[in-house]
Symmetry: C3
Subunit: 305 residues, 3 copies
């Protein structure tokens, strides 16, 4: 199915039609994967360029490529970035376009993905550019919500934790904003409230949202999206000490409730392991959905699905 | 052929039936490899997770997977371990289970393999957990002894060097203990004698063994298993200086004798390069057997052999 | 087609017949790649051993292997070299010969490639040994010249920049020396003139060459081969400041001229980006030719082309 873009650098590029198409293909890809993969991308090479390590994102993309019969060349880490010292990102990407049929890049600098896309001679996917965008995380979250809840329209979602710096909750807000009748409950300490760029988006789109400090206020939703609170975000450490336990999800919070628990992972303490065995716990399924979402994107951007 | 275990974390899990079955499949795999590989694991992805680098073990596993038509996603080294800082091994493995059909892990901490196996949703193989276990090394040593000597029962083996800290000689002792009429000659400096946990195992199983300081006492065996002595193991450096040359194997020690020389590699000085050209020298063949032994394990744990 | 060598460590091994054969196969490989790859090396595993990182060379080789349906096991970087501390290169390569069907190695020490080749039980390719050789760069440069100019005999080439330390211009000189009626124009600061080992080769072969400080003197050739001048090569920094801009190629230098601009990449400042859009700019096509040249070498050394 055709997408409205050739390169994926930001969730803001996606139309509802794009998201619907990706979702449809991702569900087909799930069947492909679970019945033993395919040779759809047999002739294709993915360049997996990680200027900073992000092993789980990289492995998810590479696994997706392999499930479709494709090949992968990988560069990761410090050695890689030092190598290219002095070379522009544009030249690196023009070069990689000679070696590969599609490029995935993670880079620590915001804006690097746009530079890369401008030089790419083959489809390009941003796998995170510092504090900028990480669109495939948002897309896999959407696939997960659909698979867990059977719909995207009408979803009530509670987002918990670090809403200020958490790239994932911003991306997911913009993507859910493509659908109808979404309601957000935003649970965070005052220091880590959802930034104005997102709340102004809610207002502009007429999306209803409420803000609170209490986890308990957010347990009536369809989806509970947990994120990690990092101690270093607090100027006042005693404030951190006071708050940190309020945002640790326990099995008792969600047991026997019809609420789906998501988390972009890795978690540290913010979801007790006693939640893992509950049917509510969708965070490992969410990781699995990352593979099928990326299979869909790789295939679609290569014009093969 | 079915194995008695789903995850391989320790040589102690193996029954004689397991070892016999692995040996049988490994010999079949040798034919597969030497006649150009197969597509047996075409649909499968191996996650190769090396928290500490061990390039030869990693390449051996990955080559095995490729020889069977499978795919590999790799994470290695410091960047990788720092990435997961704060995440439990159990979560990492639950995550990797979403990306791959089988997981191989090396980790510097003893006990990490058991934790990983407890969380794995797909077959898991321990590729070394610090001073703990490294079962596939022991298995490939067994395959090598069989291939070189035509039998496992009745083997006389001399183990030389650092028997105290050498993980490989412990694993191999436990595996040979599954067979009949094994005799051990243990050659080491007093500082590096075989530990009681192994000698008590010999006694319990009624296996005959003798201990000596002299390499010359061990040259009448079927197999001579050399290991490296590390200077840092000695409190008294003059003791090291005195001993180190006693354990350097020369061609003259084994030439025209019916004795198979093995070594887990890498060697530094402990086998003179003039041994390499002798038919006795089995250590590079041993590395080659690592590939077929791992082909067998990957295929068997995935239910494909 | 048969080559006159089993291992490729230096451009000096190549006869004109070798170079002609590689060129012929590379052109066939271009068609193979552009029509979706092949399964020619389906059963083969490449060990890609990079003791120092060289991501672009590594990715080019690995992409070449994948385009022919082969598999790759990779080791790169500091962790890798520390791992083998104490082991000889010969042992490492004997070991890798057990895991793979062909080996590519980059190593920081001159002479390491010859040691490696002496121990290799499978075909070996030098991907750069410090200040020594990097023969596949020279070969891909030859493929590029042929593709851009339609001939190798009769080429007038200008080499610009650091001709003293630049490994690529030395290799290319030796390879062009296999052909007839070659003319070299050598443009460099006095500090970085072509070394006597190369100019004496020109003289011995009766190849005409001239030396100059001015870029403008070299713009009448068929090929303009740019290289980077590194500040650290100059004892007198004011000399560097004075010269550096003389060797920055601008679009105005080559626009509407029938001259092909090459560069081994990465570039820093020595080619203005306004050259990129000109038909003269062959440096990214040159990178692409690296893949087809390496496809040819891998296939030929494995006896498959």
């Amino acid at each position: 199915m055709p997408l409205s873009f050739k390169h994926l650098t930001s969730t803001k590029q996606l139309t509802r039609e794009d998201m619907d198409a990706i979702l449809k293909v991702a569900l087909e890809m799930e069947k492909v994967r679970d019945s033993g993969g395919s040779d759809l991308l047999k002739d294709k090479v993915l360049a997996s360029l990680f200027y900073e390590p992000s092993t789980r994102t990289r492995m998810s993309f590479e696994s997706a490529m392999h499930r479709l019969g494709g090949r992968v060349v990988t560069a990761e880490g410090i050695q890689f970035s030092s190598l290219y010292k002095g070379e522009t990102i544009e030249d690196t990407i023009a070069m990689a376009s000679q070696y590969a049929d599609i490029i995935v890049m993670r880079h620590p600098e915001q804006g690097s993905a746009d530079k890369a896309a401008s030089a790419a001679l083959v489809p390009f996917i941003n796998a995170g550019d510092g504090p900028g965008q990480h669109p495939t995380q948002g897309i896999l979250d959407m696939v997960t919500i659909y698979k867990e809840r059977g719909t995207l329209d009408g979803i009530n979602i509670t987002m918990v934790g670090d809403l200020k710096y958490g790239r994932t909750v911003h991306s997911l807000s913009f993507l859910l904003g493509l659908y109808n009748d979404i309601t957000f409950t935003l649970v965070s300490p005052d220091e880590l409230k959802m930034p104005e760029k997102v709340t102004s988006f809610y207002k502009e789109k007429g999306i209803s949202f409420s803000e609170t400090n209490k986890l308990e206020d957010g347990l009536q939703s369809d989806v509970l999206y947990m994120t990690r609170i990092q101690q270093e975000r607090f100027a006042d450490k005693s404030q951190y000490e006071k708050l940190k336990d309020s945002y640790v999800l326990q099995a008792s919070h969600v047991k026997d409730k019809d609420i789906t628990v998501m988390h972009p992972l890795p978690r540290v303490n913010e979801i007790s392991t006693d939640v893992d065995a509950l049917p509510n716990a969708a965070y490992f399924r969410q990781a699995s959905n990352g593979v099928i979402a990326r299979m869909a994107l790789l295939a679609m951007l290569l014009g093969k699905a």
